[in-house]
């Protein structure tokens, strides 16, 4: 066990994963000599050499396409996109190629690429260093999508993703990179993909969240408890596949749901969550499902704090839901 922040936990996980399997390579912009602009890959090139930690030209299409080609060869590439906002230039390779290769080849050729990218706001990044594109990925059959909210899960999910036989989109909430640290085992361990985590037990209302919203939700739940609202907080960790059982179990207990995410509301991941709950547990619901999300605007710069879900806005939603 060591105390690690999320960057350290990811870095540690990358070291272990690369040591464990010599077919793992890491590629991306600035991942080598610099060790990544967030330093998640610090020291890896020194340890594993320039043949396994590859600084690429400035082309996200090139990064993902190369990773696909490498995976076809038999490597297990980890592709870093410097910011999730810059996954859009590679969308065609991700959606039309990476996600569909196994299917379209009839299971002959597979592309188990792990695509890492920092997501989300809270760091003053403005329009192009803050976006949360998870629902685009979750809409794409053939991808798995995970997002840790703490150093332990970050490492465990990373190592689990490295054992997956399918492409995994690994979203790293950049706001959490260095804000908290936790005890994390030094050795290898995995957090299974597809399993949510109950962060806090409660009976009055379920608060579903993921990524950087989790610490915020914990804080809100504490405040709610002071008002005698006991919140069941779920950290999804895995968006595709979703841990539907844990979600439904909580619905059956609390009958009231609030969903939180940073991404814009319309067609965000919260829409899918709400729809699934209505489909599968309509008769258990005692109140409308509320969504507290980023607004349906581009991500702003100076008014970022006003844009992102706040503790107050979530608390309001909890109160409304419980009172309904």
């Amino acid at each position: 066990m060591s105390r690690m922040n999320m960057v350290e936990a990811l870095n540690n996980g990358l070291h272990l994963g690369m040591r464990e399997n010599e077919n793992v390579v890491l590629l991306g912009e600035d991942v080598g000599l610099l060790g990544g602009v967030f330093r998640v890959s610090a020291g890896l090139q020194e340890t594993f050499g320039t043949d396994r930690v590859l600084d690429t030209p400035l082309s996200e299409t090139g990064i993902i396409a190369s990773a696909i080609g490498m995976a076809l060869y038999g490597l297990r590439p980890i592709a870093e996109i410097q910011f999730a906002d810059f996954a859009f230039p590679a969308f065609d390779q991700i959606i039309n190629e990476l996600a569909k290769y196994r299917y379209r080849s009839g299971n002959q050729l597979t592309t188990p690429v792990l695509v890492r990218m920092p997501v989300g706001g809270g760091v003053g990044g403005g329009l192009y260093h803050s976006q949360s594109p998870e629902s685009h990925f979750a809409h794409t059959a053939g991808l798995k999508v995970v997002i840790p909210s703490n150093p332990y899960d970050a490492k465990g999910l990373l190592l689990a993703a490295l054992r997956e036989q399918d492409p995994v989109i690994f979203l790293e909430p950049k706001k959490l990179y260095r804000t908290t640290s936790a005890e994390v085992p030094d050795g290898a361990f995995t957090v299974p993909i597809g399993s949510a985590r109950r962060v806090r037990e409660g009976t009055d209302v379920t608060l579903i969240c993921y990524g950087a919203m989790v610490p915020l939700a914990e804080d809100v739940a504490r405040r709610a408890a002071e008002e005698q609202i006991q919140v069941d907080v779920l950290d999804l960790r895995s968006l595709l596949p979703l841990d539907i059982e844990t979600v439904l179990a909580s619905v059956q207990k609390t009958h009231r749901i609030v969903i939180v995410h940073e991404a814009p509301r319309t067609c965000g991941y919260g829409a899918e969550l709400a729809s699934l709950i209505v489909e599968k547990a309509f008769w258990s619901l005692d109140a409308p499902i509320l969504r507290v999300t980023g607004f349906d605007t581009p991500f702003p710069y100076r008014l970022e704090k006003e844009y992102l879900p706040t503790s107050d806005r979530i608390l309001d939603a909890l109160r409304t839901t419980v009172a309904a």
């Binding site: 390579v25 043949d51 396994r52 590859l54 690429t56 030209p57 082309s59 299409t61 090139g62 396409a65 190369s66 990773a67 696909i68 080609g69 490498m70 076809l72 060869y73 038999g74 490597l75 065609d92 390779q93 039309n96 190629e97 569909k100 290769y101 196994r102 299917y103 379209r104 080849s105 009839g106 299971n107 002959q108 050729l109 597979t110 059959a141 053939g142 798995k144 997956e164 036989q165 399918d166 597809g194 595709l240 596949p241 979703l242 539907i244």
Partner: protein
Amino acid sequence: MSETELIRVLGDDDTSPAPYHPSLDDESLLALYRRMVQTRLFDAEMIRLHRQGRVSIYSSSEGEEALAVAAAMTLSEEDWLFPDYRVSGALFERGVPMEEFLAQLFGTSKDLSKGRQIPTHYGSRQRHIASISSPVGNGIAHAVGFAWAARIKKGPEVVLTFFGDGATSEEGFHTGMNIAGVHKLPVVFVCRNNQYAISVPFNLQTGSDTIAVKAKAYGFDGVRVDGTDALAVHDVVREAVERARKGGGPTLVEGVSYRHGAHSTSDDDTRYRKAAEAEAWRKRDPIDRFGRYLKSRGLWDDARDAALRETLESRIQTAVAEAEAAPPPPLESLFDDVYDDLPWHLREQRQDLTDHLRGLKGRKP
């Protein structure tokens, strides 16, 4: 070699000039010819099948068989091919039986890709052929990633990728060429410059006079070869493959050619090009030219040609009949291979569909 010089072996009379010694022995020369004819006849049959509503769409390589076949012929078994939709000859040359390709074209249960792709979008791990996708140019960059992995793992593989002139405008070309140039990767880029991307002529596709010159932007060489001259194509690509294998890095080969037919069976090329243009190119038909060369060398004659065509026609008919008879893929296969495992939501959707089809749904409360 400059990027604008056009490499030719066959002269205007389709015999080779005196000093030329073909790098292929006589048997290989004949094999190359036979493969080109096979491709021509196969493509023609597919267009017929389309007219009869038996194949939904097809892209013929008529006029470009030399490029597909002679280039693919230069590869060794360990090498990999990243093709596009207009190189059936290259697939045959890699050993794909017609029955297997036809299973793909009909999308039957025998199709390696389980009936999931439109015709010509073949792929085979066993035969070292990547799975073809439609978005133009994407496979070029996969070929480069594959070659990068081969370099890293010190593997013996050379990678060859085919694409058209239009594909050079896409990002897959740009980023693939660029990465290949940075790392001097073992990859050969074969561009069929057939003068059109569907209806868009070369002069609206790019401002450069040739495709070959584009290699300069990435720090390696481009070569321009007469794409209707099977011998020239073979020599140029063979040299590029050898260079790649020896660590000499990538080459861009521009094969100057022409699509004799429409872009695909969905296209009507009379809307955008003059019959005279196609006529002129037909005079340089790669099969006719190569046939004349073989005859001039005493290796071939009309009787053998007629016999070859007859044999091939009947093999094609047999293969079509066999392939078409196979049933469609089973219903449940819809949900397979999205993932290695079957996540709950797909299991549910599969169950819903089978329940529904069994008439069980909607009658429950």
